[in-house]
């Protein structure tokens, strides 16, 4: 029995290692043909052109912009909601809202994608001048809403882990409730809140469906979120569904950008988990 369970556990480690191995192996072949500096600093991404260019910057800027927009939504709203749930809401309210929020996580991401494309974009086009039908702004906002439940849930846990003795210390000094929330609870839960946001950001960077549907498939080096641009994940979907020849350089580019994405999210996760562990050790 013990051996069986060990094999099950070992399998998950093996699969993860195998994925990383494949990513690195195929990327290796890619980088044998394309110099790393051309890849990282090139401004053109045209893998299926006659004269293909493999500069990843257009994909990277689109990814970072949508993730950044997501954070612009998730940070303020997430913080306010977490404070409300942790400090103000009566237990009955909290026990209703938290599961409802977590239900949001059960909505398939493709639904969010079409919601962005067919509902949010036409609506925002009436408000934001020059907003294209396919753009970065709307999927960015939707991404923010998508990661909100996770961000709220983790930061609320961190806030509730702040011991009551600290709150009482604040009240004992004559702080009002909002002052205790801002001066005691948020600083006390700071590393946990930061971890929540970084892990949320890492989710936003890795999210695929919303971006493939609503941000477009066209690699476009732009800092204007009103325009559409393919993100790293959208490109991977597009190429995987297309009919690129197995073993071609365009095919290998999937693994190269996949590896880049892996490194970015791994970095975020490491920082996030480090901060989370740190906040557990506090008090």
């Amino acid at each position: 029995m013990k051996t069986f369970l060990f094999l099950c556990a070992a399998l998950s480690v093996f699969v993860t290692t195998a994925i990383v191995f494949v990513l690195i192996r195929d990327s290796w072949e890619f980088f044998a043909n394309i110099p790393l500096t051309d890849f990282l600093f090139g401004t053109m991404w045209t893998p299926v052109f006659a004269n293909p260019q493999f500069g990843v910057l257009p994909l990277l800027t689109a990814t970072l912009q949508t993730a950044g927009l997501a954070m612009l939504v998730a940070v303020p709203f997430g913080l306010i909601m977490a404070i409300y749930l942790s400090e103000y809401a009566r237990p009955a309210v909290r026990e209703t809202i938290k599961p409802a929020l977590e239900m949001l996580e059960a909505v398939p991401t493709v639904v969010y994608g079409y919601f962005a494309l067919l509902v949010m974009t036409p609506f925002l086009q009436q408000i934001v001048p020059g907003l294209k039908g396919i753009n970065l702004l709307v999927p960015g906002i939707i991404l923010g809403i998508m990661i909100l439940p996770y961000v709220v849930s983790v930061s609320e846990d961190a806030m509730r882990a702040v011991p009551n003795s600290l709150r009482e210390g604040g009240y004992g000094l004559g702080m009002a409730k909002w002052q205790v929330a801002i001066r005691i609870v948020i600083p006390g839960a700071f590393s946990g809140i930061t971890a929540a946001f970084i892990l949320g950001m890492s989710r936003a960077v890795g999210e695929t469906m919303v971006l493939a549907v609503a941000a477009g498939q066209n690699p476009n080096l732009t800092w204007d979120p009103r325009e559409g641009a393919a993100t790293i994940t959208a490109y991977i979907v597009q190429m995987s569904l297309g009919d690129v020849a197995h073993g071609s350089i365009a095919y290998q580019s999937i693994f190269a950008v996949g590896l880049l994405l892996f490194v970015i999210t791994l970095l975020f996760n490491i920082i996030g988990f480090y901060l989370r562990r740190k906040f557990r050790e506090a008090y």
Binding site: G172, G174, M175, A176, I184
Partner: protein
């Protein structure tokens, strides 16, 4: 003996206590020296927890200005509950209820009256807790917190108040070189003195100490006791302690509580050498508690 005391109590129960409006205060808790100026008066005070449990029953007690008042009694007697009532800590949890009066002198304001704002009460009556609870901030910011709450922003004013509070709490020399280091790097005893400094910085009218040494070792305890005695020259102190030696060492007045009632109040010396109430005697001689 029990019989005579009880009879005596009942006979004198309706005698007016000088300086107090309430006529039915038993003599056992009459202030020993009415001539001493009062900082607060607790009058016919009762407290009910949200589950309906009456934790404090009709307590009367004077709080003398710039003296140390100790509240002693066995576990569950309501001593901490009474202390936490004095700065409205029970208001943090819904359903708790006060009855009677806690009059802050000399203004005569009732701290538990319907018009009293708990937040404003806590600005005037500070508190130090059982377990040191420094905020996860620097030493400096811990002491400055109470000043910032009061809207003080001038750097020079805060600097001066922080130093003065840390000096009063006898911890300045230990922390002056690491004011901006984390408060968590201090030892437990230092943390508690830091919490006392934090409570002192905004110059409260009364400082409440809720078993401040129960989490400390004997050496740290001795330091806190010395500190509390020094402080009583400048600030009114009410201290709850389960340590009778501590009460007898440092306090000027002692109240003995039992099952939510103030059994006896008097000069500390009298309470410990010549208790009037048999329950007090039983407690201080170690028959229960």
């Amino acid at each position: 003996m029990t019989d005579t005391t009880t009879t005596l109590d009942q006979e004198t129960r309706h005698q007016a206590a000088p300086g107090f409006e309430r006529a039915e205060m038993p003599p056992a808790i009459r202030p020993a020296t009415e001539r001493d100026p009062l900082r607060a008066r607790i009058e016919d005070f009762s407290f009910y927890y949200s589950n309906g449990f009456q934790a404090i029953k009709h307590v009367d007690m004077p709080i003398l200005d710039r003296k140390i008042t100790a509240i002693i009694g066995p576990s569950g007697c309501g001593k901490s509950t009474l202390l936490r009532s004095l700065n409205r800590m029970h208001d943090l949890y819904p359903g708790n209820r006060y009855e009677g009066k806690v009059i802050l002198e000399p203004e005569g304001e009732n701290l538990i009256g319907p018009d009293a704002d708990p937040v404003l009460v806590r600005l005037r009556v500070g508190m130090v807790f059982q377990k040191p609870n420094p905020f996860p901030k620097s030493i400096y910011e811990n002491v400055a917190a109470g000043l910032r709450v009061r809207g003080i922003k001038k750097r020079a004013v805060i600097d001066e108040a922080v130093e003065s509070a840390l000096r009063r709490a006898a911890i300045w020399d230990e922390v002056k070189d690491k004011l901006h280091g984390s408060a968590y790097d201090l030892s437990g005893g230092q943390q508690q003195r830091l919490c006392i400094a934090r409570g002192l910085a905004p110059n409260p009218e009364i400082l409440l100490l809720d078993e401040p040494t129960s989490a400390l070792d004997p050496i740290a305890t001795a330091k806190v006791e010395d500190l509390v005695q020094e402080l009583s020259e400048t600030v009114t102190i009410v201290i709850v302690t389960h340590n009778m030696q501590q009460a007898s060492r440092i306090s000027h007045r002692t109240a003995f509580m039992y099952l939510g009632e103030a059994m006896e109040f008097g000069e500390t010396n009298q309470i410990f050498t010549n208790p009037r109430h048999p329950r007090t005697e039983n407690y201080i001689t170690g028959r229960y508690g």
